[in-house]
């Protein structure tokens, strides 16, 4: 006898209990602490803060734990929390040339003022599994904190007019797509905000595609720097800026394809990437895609996906993307029933017309 599926409520409760059990894993193994995640899975924390658009290492660690290490799920948790926070103002713009630098490299010049600082990087490790090798070994060499002036490469080249200048400060408040829906065409402020929140994997693939000829823009990593900065806020009632705290950021200044016109001398163009924490892959991809998205502004033919602003900006958000892809799991019984009806009808018509076709042949 047929019994209609009921009892959704109990099913959900049980599913949640099962989820909690899976999350905890073997009870004989000690439970992960937030401090462990925060201090040992630092790059996961950085990614979650970036795409979650919220600088809070502890909350990001909690989200990672709660999400069983599924970073997109963790990003989602952080975003949902962020949306509930009251907003009391915007910080002063940060000046990355004043950063306390922990890593700074240029692929364009062998040496430059302030020098090249490798910092904590995987770059020149050999990817050999070393079961014992993840334990901290000797104390790392402690260099003097980089206090020497470390001008940005783009500023060094800019003084010779070899590279385009940063756009002047128009005094306009940058747009905010968490407050206003994104419209097209979008200006660079919104594009950069979108990319900063965008999925690292998506931007990586798009950036990679530009390197393989789908919207090529001849990139050089002019400079990548990572370090700490003070964030300042100027409360209106105070009239001057006060420090709010320190954050770590990564920045990539990509130097691209030169360009000149009848009235302008050739100079390199630029792509820009900035993100919370140590997120080199993210900021490099972001800079490549930022440059690709400037095609319209720079009179380039828009023919590759990475140059297509609507395509890129509409699909970069992994919380949106995962929601819509995964919503296919939800019941679609009635829609499917309607489609089923139509297909049956079309098949009947097809069957009815078949003998006629054969006769005609």
């Amino acid at each position: 006898m047929y019994v209609a599926a009921k009892g959704g409520e109990r099913a959900i409760e049980n599913a949640h209990r099962l989820l909690a059990q899976e999350r905890r894993g073997d009870p004989a193994v000690p439970e992960l602490t937030l401090e462990q995640i925060e201090s040992q899975l630092t790059l996961a924390v950085d990614r979650v803060m970036n795409e979650g658009s919220l600088y809070d290492r502890e909350l990001a660690a909690l989200a990672i734990k709660q999400a069983r290490g599924d970073l997109i799920e963790a990003i989602f948790l952080l975003r949902a929390f962020r949306a509930t926070l009251p907003r009391f103002g915007a910080s002063e713009p940060i000046d990355t040339s004043a950063m306390a630098v922990r890593r700074r490299i240029s692929a364009a010049f062998k040496d430059l003022p302030g020098g090249q600082i490798l910092g904590p990087t995987f770059d020149y490790t050999h990817r050999l599994l070393e079961p014992q090798g993840t334990e901290a070994q000797d104390e790392p060499a402690q260099a003097e904190a980089a206090t020497a002036s470390m001008p940005r490469v783009t500023d060094l080249l800019g003084s010779d007019d070899l590279v385009e200048q940063s756009p002047p400060d128009t005094g306009e408040t940058p747009g905010d797509l968490t407050h206003d829906p994104l419209g097209f065409p979008a200006d660079r402020d919104l594009r950069l905000q979108n990319l900063a929140r965008g999925d690292e994997g998506f931007l990586l693939a798009l950036g990679y595609s530009t390197q393989r000829g789908y919207g090529r823009n001849h990139p050089f990593a002019g400079e990548i720097r990572m370090g700490d900065l003070e964030v300042e806020f100027a409360p209106p009632e105070l009239g001057f800026a006060v420090p709010l705290g320190r954050i770590t950021v990564s920045e990539c200044q990509m130097i691209n394809q030169f360009r000149g016109t009848a009235t302008e001398a050739p100079r390199f163009t630029r792509g820009y990437g900035l993100a919370f924490g140590h997120c080199e892959r993210k900021v490099m991809s972001m800079a490549l895609v930022d440059r690709a998205l400037r095609a319209r502004e720079l009179d380039e033919e828009v023919k590759a996906p990475a140059q297509d602003e609507e395509f890129v900006l509409s699909h970069s958000d992994n919380v949106q993307a995962t929601g819509f892809v995964e919503h296919l799991k939800l019941p679609h019984y009635v829609d499917f029933q309607a489609e089923l009806g139509l297909v049956r009808k079309l098949r009947e018509e097809f069957a009815a017309s078949e003998p006629v076709k054969e006769a005609a042949e």
Binding site: D123, Y124, R127, L156, S159, Q211, G213, Y214, G260
Partner: protein, 290 residues
């Protein structure tokens, strides 16, 4: 967990055989990109996985290896790759161009002329010279098969029309033995003439793109150009601040934020040799295989 044990020069012998077969085919068809089953290497794609695989496949215990990046032996990635082969193959290494039997390079050909019985292994990011004109592999393979290189000439012509010059400064396309147009890897075009009629074997490995190609010794290699716009070698008009060379390729080094800069040889071995700082290679002639 299984304790890992690695073969001489990291790759297993079956993989080396597969790569050697690709190399042999590449040597037999100069300038033709031979697909090969590139492996995951313990360094990222883009760091020279193609070059490393080719080097691993040609390296023997008696070889003397030199690794350069941007012409220099002391650049981070050159140091890293050299250490990799010291660790996995235990071969002798050198910075001396004349002493090396295998030289793996990224972006430069040494200033010191190469000799017969030396192998120069290039790390190649994008092996397809037509890639930036036509992103699809299905199309570019057809174009090579038909020697349909009109698009490349149109590109060079458009450069001249727009800028008054051919605006390609590195990875400047060449034609090999009158047949295949080939990407020399992103070496500055200054190095292009060195590929022509070179006594050494030149091998090119592109790991991520899974291609190997070759220029056998004494092969004709011509940089593409036009009769009225002949190929020109570019070199910064100056002398090396360290050794005074007026014919080497120079790196620009920024010395302060007030516009100060200096120019030094990109080839560190060449530069040190000229300054008399080089330790004289012992038995350099013996080290070269014959």
């Amino acid at each position: 967990m299984t304790a890992a044990a690695y073969n001489f020069a990291y790759l297993d012998e079956q993989t080396k055989r597969m790569i050697r077969r690709a190399i042999l085919k590449a040597v037999a068809v100069p300038g033709y990109q031979v697909p090969f089953a590139s492996r995951e290497m313990p360094m990222p794609y883009g760091w020279g996985t193609g070059g490393v695989q080719v080097t691993a496949a040609v390296l023997g215990p008696d070889d003397v290896l030199k690794v350069i990046d941007q012409g220099a032996d002391d650049t981070t990635n050159a140091v890293s790759i050299r250490k990799f082969f010291v660790k996995t193959a235990g071969v002798r290494t050198t910075t001396d161009t004349t002493e090396a039997t295998v030289i793996q390079t990224r972006h430069r050909i040494p200033e010191t002329p190469l000799k017969a019985n030396q192998i120069l292994v290039f790390q190649v990011p994008i092996p397809e010279p037509l890639r930036y004109l036509e992103p699809r592999e299905t199309e570019t393979r057809r174009m090579h098969a038909l020697a349909d290189y009109g698009l490349m000439h149109v590109k060079l012509y458009e450069d001249i029309a727009h800028h008054g010059h051919i605006a390609t400064t590195y990875a400047y396309p060449v034609k090999v033995e009158g047949r295949y147009v080939m990407d020399p890897s992103p070496t500055p075009k200054f190095d292009n003439p060195k590929m022509n009629d070179c006594p050494a074997l030149q091998l090119f490995g592109a790991g991520r793109e899974k291609r190997i190609y070759a220029i056998p010794p004494y092969t004709n290699v011509v940089s593409l150009d036009f009769e009225d716009h002949p190929f020109e070698r570019y070199r910064f008009d100056g002398i090396c601040a360290l050794c005074g060379s007026d014919e080497s390729f120079l790196d620009e080094v920024i010395t302060d934020d007030r516009g100060g800069r200096m120019f030094v040889c990109s080839d560190t071995d060449y530069c040190q040799g000229r300054r008399g700082e080089k330790v004289p290679p012992k038995a350099a002639t013996e080290a070269v295989r014959d």
